[in-house]
């Protein structure tokens, strides 16, 4: 099994996994979505809410705000009963109208655990309206609630392979390709593929070719992963954390069989 990183920055990642199976790739995808712990607002105490939104709506909106997660300082399954400094963070939100309440108005008790996005509007307050809430953020898993999912739009596809057997340079396939990855090479007067990975296997080129000389297929054991981070964890760390969780699970499984 081999991994080739195609591109990765703080928020987005793309990598190629070769020599694998669909079952393993799906395991990795599910691991990234459901098994990597992140921080999210879990309990909300509402002391005053004069806004146009109901308490429940405000609590839901607060829950969906991604928080920058520090996995070294916090534990997922804490032994304490009442909640302690190693398993939860409390934050307060106290805004008086007229104002728009933003995620950046949350005052956290831990300066490292802050909203990943500053400009998320929570509610708009008119003059005389007030919002005073206290929230508790905890680590959680994506399988319990989507707010604890570190990735957004996480998925994979088989690596597309475009094979050209016959070509007279008519350019029909170049015209129909919605991804614009085909072009006619001026010197040889034959079609060439510029970015094979981008192919969506729509097979419009196959239909357009009257010589039946182009074929869009895919490699069954090579997978191209694409995912985005919601800001809670850096995108380059998420697959590594998922693999770690998967390995732990596999070890537990072996242990259980013994």
């Amino acid at each position: 099994m081999e991994i080739e990183i195609l591109e990765v920055d703080d928020r987005e990642g793309r990598f190629m996994l070769s020599g694998s199976t669909a079952a393993f790739s799906n395991g990795l995808r599910r691991g990234m979505m459901a098994e990597v712990p992140t921080m999210a607002i879990d309990d909300v105490n509402i002391y005053e809410n004069g806004s146009v939104l109901f308490d429940e709506q405000i609590a839901l909106r607060l829950g969906l705000i991604p928080l920058v997660t520090d996995l070294d300082s916090y534990v997922l399954n804490c032994d304490c009963e009442e909640g302690c400094t190693s398993c939860q963070v409390s934050m307060t939100l106290n805004v008086e109208g007229p104002a728009v309440v933003y995620s950046s108005d949350l005052v956290s008790s831990d300066p490292n655990i802050i909203p990943a996005e500053d400009k998320i509007p929570i509610v708009e307050l008119k003059s005389g309206q007030k919002l005073y809430v206290e929230v508790v953020a905890r680590l959680g898993l994506g399988k319990n609630h989507a707010k604890w999912q570190p990735v957004v739009a996480c998925g994979y596809k088989n690596k597309p392979v475009i094979t050209i057997t016959e070509c007279d340079g008519c350019g029909e396939c170049v015209e129909v390709c919605p991804k614009g990855i085909l072009s006619i090479d001026e010197s040889t007067n034959k079609v060439t593929v510029s970015d094979e990975i981008e192919c969506s296997l729509c097979k419009l080129c196959e239909k357009a070719c009257y010589l039946d000389g182009i074929h869009a297929g895919s490699k069954e054991d090579v997978f191209i992963f694409r995912y985005e981070s919601d800001g809670s964890l850096p995108a380059d760390k998420i697959p590594l954390l998922a693999v770690k969780q998967l390995r732990e699970k596999a070890e537990q499984f072996i242990e259980g069989l013994k």
Partner: protein, 61 residues
């Protein structure tokens, strides 16, 4: 209020809402969305189809 995340994929879209709202007054909506990095059509419809209702409800509080 604009939903915090895209209903379909979960991307945070509310943080660009105010900029989008201001810019569509003068520019073409498709160009603004491209500029703001809203690529998928699930996220794009969130901003295009949103109707703000806070001002409508506020007098009845």
């Amino acid at each position: 209020m604009i939903p915090v995340r895209c209903f379909t994929c979960g991307k945070i879209i509310s943080n660009v809402w105010e900029e989008y709202r201001e810019r569509v007054k003068k520019e073409e909506s498709a160009k603004v969305l491209d500029d703001l990095g809203i690529k998928r059509y699930c996220c794009r419809r969130m901003l295009i189809t949103h109707v703000p209702l806070v001002d409508t409800f506020a007098p009845y509080q």
